[in-house]
Amino acid sequence: MMKSDDIGDDDTPFSAKRYFAHLILWSTALAFALIAAVFVVVAASRLPNAGEAFDLWAVAIGTPVTLLAAYGLWRTMPDFTMGEPHTPRGNRMRRLIAAIVFVGIAISLPINLADSGQGGKLLWGNGPMPQTPALIAVVMWSLSIPVVMVAGRRVADEHTRAAGDFGMMVGFQTFAYIAPMWWMGWRGGFLPQPDVMILFIVAGALSAGANLWKRFA
């Protein structure tokens, strides 16, 4: 969606290409550092129980390397602002995005825990699931999503809000276009039963695409 080196036509020093390259490289380095840290911790935990020579080497070399990597990552950490100004509204927006990520993880967690050994069938599937994780997810969704929606509306500036409105319009019009056709087709016997989640995902994806297009194109 971003057409050039900068977001839009401007002469500001912010470069989207540079920013996202930094973000991707830093995230990749963080992933490697975390994996290295796990190796060091596992090796260190095996040392008291007559660990192998490899464990000793892993701890001896891995500890300073991991600490050095942690220091480097801390010093080169991106600001996560995407070039946006540090204003109270911008900070509230960033806190809200972090809260949305947290809510998403919290809602999926009970389903994921109940999913152990099924390879993600519960979380990513469309079939029945145990009552308890489903009930927890429903309660968490019903309580958190209205708060997130209202907070998102209040913290957005008018351009972001207009893009959101446009996205919602496209999403609902997609739903209003497809759902009755599918329903009639099912009643007529030539289409499968309408699936609410397919409609939700298609409408949501188009809504998000329209929102981003309005904001960045």
């Binding site: 839009g8 036509d9 070039g83 500036d157 904001r215």
Partner: protein, 64 residues
Amino acid sequence: MKNRLKVLRAERDWSQAELAGRLDVSRQAVNAIETGKHDPSLPLAFRIARLFDMRIEEIFDDEI
């Protein structure tokens, strides 16, 4: 709607992020206004006018 926002910003040597901070909007909003992709609401147009100490019609023009 055409406007002089980019010129006024450049005269003050402000980046889009700096102007966005002063107006309490996102940088994308400033960019969209400057490129004519978003027409600001009246309250935001008044904020812009006050910031540059000008009248709205000295900044925005729908006849250019």
